[in-house]
Amino acid sequence: MKETDLKRAYNNVLAQAISTSQKFLFAGNLFGDIFVLSLNELNKTNEEPPKKLKVFPQGCDVDINCLAFHRDFLIVGAIGLIYGIQWNEEEETLSTKRAWEIKIPMQVDAVEVPDVNSFWLCTETDSLYAGCGDGVVYKIDLEDGRIQREYRGHTDYVHCVVGHPDGRIYSSGEDGTVHFWSDKQKEPTAILEPHKNAQLLRPDWGKWIGAVSVNNDWLVCGGGPRPAIWHLRSMECTRTFDYPGRVHVCEFVDDSVLIGGEHNHVQFYTLNGALQANIPVEHTASYSAVWQTSPFNFMSIAGFSNKLHILKDFRFLDSKIEMYGNVQGDEVENEEQDDNDDDDDGEDDSF
């Protein structure tokens, strides 16, 4: 299978981010490529075909696990490493050099370099919370790149971390728990274990919690167990959702809850648990959803497929955008390949 075909068939997009200017969408995949989509192109009313994407390869050894955008930096979470790259808005280019790098410290008993699985960016305090493969959430000061605090408590790796500007942090992990943290307290303020709730447990799929999201009073989380809404103070499960797959994405979007994961649909539910919208996707599994409500409504859902799914009213699928095969300068690459035809070696089995 040729490399281009291989990448098209097995493109796995784990992370997306929208720029501060709200004009560009970044999508990073496990092949180490970051695609940049100009959102203005989507909003055009005329009939012209939209411009192709730009791609900025980070090297094939870089797994892009998560992305965040801060000021004019794109922050990439890779394996054992967080780095920032400058985004030039005028020229629409990502710098090829890393502006800064933060290494995740290896634990004493660790055998493997931990992944950086999830970011939550607190713009009010300029701090970045990174949920990592060693089960620790690191609070990083973006001013000086210091690790300010480590939130220890998970017994397996962290899937997802979200928070509140007032210092409340919530992290979910492979160990099946959601830890509630406060910046004033070393120990977690509370621990939620959805798999202990018989109503939620789906035994074949395990106890892991793949995604968590909060608003002022409510928390939604899911993974192996069914997705459900919990009240933040009473810690009680008030509503469960009938999402048929494993959950990798759940978010509060306006007054509804978005749930996605290993299923050929992503779904919107009302807070009462009623299905609002059932959106078919091509992803084998959806791993990332980013959205904005101003200057215009826009949501992009990405996952294990070569297409970004774009929603404009959060109820219906608007368009699908191909990634590999829809990149500026593709044609030139093809030409170059032809020139290498004379290469006689390296195409056979090795002898």
């Binding site: 075909d5 098209r8 784990l14 696990n65 992944d115 793949g210 290993e262 084998t284 032809d338 089995d349």
Partner: protein, 616 residues
Amino acid sequence: MNMEDLLSTQFVKLKQAMDDLFELKSAGHVLELKQSSGVLMFVALKHANRKVKRNIKSGRDELHLQKSKVDLSRLQLQNLLYEVSHLKKEIVRCQKFKSRDTYLELLSDKEYASKFADEGSDKTNMSDHQTHLYRLECELRLRKELDNQYSALLTSKQELLQDNLKQTQKYLSFAPALRTLLESTKPLHDALQLSLDVEWKLSSIFKYLPRALYILFINLQALQRTRKEFASKVVGFESDQQMQELLLETENTLKERRHFTEKSNSCEAVPDNTLDRVLKCHPLHIHLVIDSPDKSSELVLIVRYWELLKCVTVRAQLNSTNNSNFQGDANLVEDLLGHLYPDDTGDHIPIPGIEYELQNLNLTAEQCLEYLVENGFGKPYCWLQSMCSIATVNKKQHFKHEFNLHKWIRKVFTRILKRWRSWLRLTQQIRGLTYKDVDLSASKENIYPDGLSCSLVQWTAISSEEFNIQNAGLIYNLTPSNGITYTSYRAVIVRGSAKMECFIRIPSNYPLDIPLWILSVHWNGRHTSMNNAAIKMMEFWTNSLQPSQLKKGNRLLYSQLFRTIYSFDIFLETEGAMQTVREYNKEKPYISTFTKRIRLRPYKYIMKGSTFTFKQ
């Protein structure tokens, strides 16, 4: 005082005197004195008259003088006028004048400068005309010299011809003697087992080969001396006479064809059987025999030259020496040659401008190709034309004219052999899998022999349609194939109650493209790359194996199979960890069951020293 006044004063005076006299007379006076003074006046009058006469004469003389002057100047002017008209005529004539040298073909400026560089040193102060004249002079000289040389050469040529004639006659006189010598030494040849005859015969064939084939053949002969894998020979030769006849015939058909084109302009339709006549290939063709890498069969390439199409075609056939025909052999050769170079499938005639020449004959390139393929003459691949030093234009309009034939032919052969070897290895692997006559657990591609828990229970060929039906989702994502055909297989791998179906698609341009695997796990429902990310990652891991990553001696298909088997094991073991009733325990060495948000399983294997681990 002018003449009129002179006379009139005299007359006035005379009249006065007369009047006075008349008065006096009428008064009766007679005055003698007055009369005499009056008479004197007549004298004065006479004097005045004479004076006037003289004046008139001198005036007339002067007039005459002036008149002659005027006449003279008039004459001069006339002369001038005449001269002007004459000059005008002269100018016109000058203008109409053309020197003969303008009709001469002169040397170009550059040549002239180089030939007469030393002589024309003083031409800086010459006018254009002068330099031209000088140049003409020089060239005249040169021409004369050359003419001399020419005649000298002509005479020497004549002499040589004469000489030649003499020598030929001389040698011809030897012929009968030599012939008798040959006859008489024949028994000696036989006794010594010399094969001089054969070589003579061969070289006599060469001269009838068309240019392209001749070039190919000579190069092959040269290569044959160093490499033993192949042999070449010219086929179609019977006798000199037959050859001559054939050549004559071709010439005739050529003429006929010309005639035919003239005719065909009037009647448009070309009957199909004429294609046979018009396209006729050269009677001689080259047989090229290549031994297979394992010496079990030989590949015969029949190279023909087509006068009209100006290209060569190759038809291949496989002669097996030990009748062990297996599936895929029939297409093997065609696939081998058709995909030797990318985008060179021989589906068009790669000769520049051939369409137009064919158009003149009311033919199309497609028609000709169809004819070639239908009648089993093979295809005109670009690489083949290059072997015969024929310029080609490929589908992308790249022009190529190979001159380093020696290198190119060697390269093509190496490539054919290499491809063939890969194919043989592949067919061997497939045969091994189909008939299960390989011990998989002992195979060297088995990376972790202790941990092989799955078993391959079935490997069968399926039709492409079946393959496409099974895997509609993924095929849709791939770039369209150009001229590549696929053979598909279905493999079944079993472990406990779990079953995995693998659909394998092998492209005809292997090993340019490598086999594609599509997996489908049947265990608590059907899991494919369409509905299960873990299966999709597994499939990616299998398909991402590139031949360049293989260890020395490892076979691709087996390596892919083992990758798949281990991935399946890992899948079951990691999936099983969550089951309430465990069916599969962890048997493989891996550190973490899942990593990342996608819950990636440790499909990859790494060898660190002697320890073997699976990793994400």
